[in-house]
């Protein structure tokens, strides 16, 4: 199957998919640039490990699980949309949005715990607490997870709009495109999870 389709004419790839892949490649470089910058700093300062201890692996793992499940539901939505089962496709899309909301809720609980511990965006709080630590770990933590959360919101909005549209019978092929975007958001999180929550 896969050998056979790789010989297909590039013009058989629908325009939307082509554009989506281009967008995803671009997005990967934006996120990748941020992650590369973090990695470079992380290797330079091994002592950031002491601060990464404050991130909650449990919350991170639950969130990974939530995103993986929502990726699964959106791919099922695409599958159903292909078979023209609009109602079921909409149900799966709705579940995906619920997954996204759950992700954001867990994330905000996590943020509020960290902020109440004094671990903020600018993180001079650590200095105030007399620990003498002044590192950018928390700045990176918030900028990476925050940028990711913005993408989650964008993905949810897109999925919601398309869920409404396919209800009217329009743009059924776009379910797949919104799904691809959502998977990209998932991918970024899969990489952020070990980076921020496990490597301590």
């Amino acid at each position: 199957m896969s050998n056979n389709t790789k010989a297909l004419d590039i013009r058989q790839v629908p325009q939307g998919r082509l554009a989506m892949w281009t967008l995803i490649a671009g997005e990967l470089i934006i996120f990748g640039g941020l992650i590369a910058v973090y990695l470079l700093n992380r290797i330079r300062y091994p002592e950031w490990g002491a601060e990464a201890v404050h991130t909650s692996t449990m919350f991170g793992a639950i969130n990974t699980c939530v995103l993986l499940l929502s990726s699964f539901t959106i791919v099922l939505a695409h599958n159903e949309a292909n078979k023209n089962n609009i109602k079921r496709a909409q149900l799966y899309m709705f579940l995906t949005i619920v997954g996204g909301l759950a992700f954001l809720c867990i994330k905000s609980i996590e943020y509020s715990r960290e902020i109440s511990e004094g671990l903020t965006f600018t993180s001079p709080a650590m200095v105030a607490k007399g620990e003498g630590v002044k590192s950018l770990f928390w700045s990176f933590y918030y900028i990476m997870t925050g940028l990711h959360a913005l993408h989650v919101i964008a993905g949810m909005t897109t999925i919601f709009i398309i869920m409404m549209q396919i209800g009217k019978g329009k743009n059924i092929h776009r379910v797949e495109l919104a799904g691809m975007y959502w998977h990209m958001v998932d991918l970024v999180w899969i990489f952020l999870f070990p980076l921020l929550y496990i490597a301590k």
Binding site: M1, S2, T5, K6, L8, D9, I10, R11, Q12, V13, P14, Q15, G16, L18, W21, T22, I24, A25, G26, L28, I29, G32, G33, A36, L39, L40, N41, I43, R44, T57, A61, T64, C65, L68, L69, S71, F72, V75, L76, N79, N82, N84, K134, S135, N171, I172, H173, E176, G179, M180, H183, D186, L187, I190, F191, F193, P194, I198, A199, K200
Partner: protein, 115 residues
């Protein structure tokens, strides 16, 4: 009024409703993904030596990414040009990382202010 449609050489209509690629068993992929998540958590729980743990965790992460891209995003059914685009993105990030590497992590700590 007359509209010109996309019969200008595009093999398919851009608003095509069925897709041209196959569908893997999504549920099996999900099970693999969750199992991988389990592995990375186990590595964290058992306090393996740091280097080994980090290696395992990142190998697992890349494997998971591969599973999602290949199956959920259907890259395995995709045209070679799209593979090229995705790998070019990764390659360019690698170039950036290696090019900057000597100037950030390898800087001698004496010249870096100590905190």
């Amino acid at each position: 009024m007359e509209h010109k449609f996309h019969d200008n050489g595009s093999v398919v209509d851009p608003d095509v409703k069925t897709d041209y690629h196959g569908h893997p068993n999504y549920f099996r992929v999900l099970i693999y993904l969750l199992a991988m998540l389990g592995i990375s958590l186990a590595v964290f729980e058992f306090h393996l030596p740091v280097n080994i743990a980090i290696t395992i965790v990142f190998v697992v992460a890349f494997w998971k990414i591969g599973l999602v891209v290949r199956n959920f995003m259907h890259l395995r059914y995709e045209h070679i040009l799209i593979w090229v685009a995705v790998f070019a993105a990764v390659f360019i990030l690698l170039v950036f990382f290696l090019g900057v590497f000597p100037d950030v992590p390898m800087v001698h700590r004496e010249v870096v202010p100590k905190y």
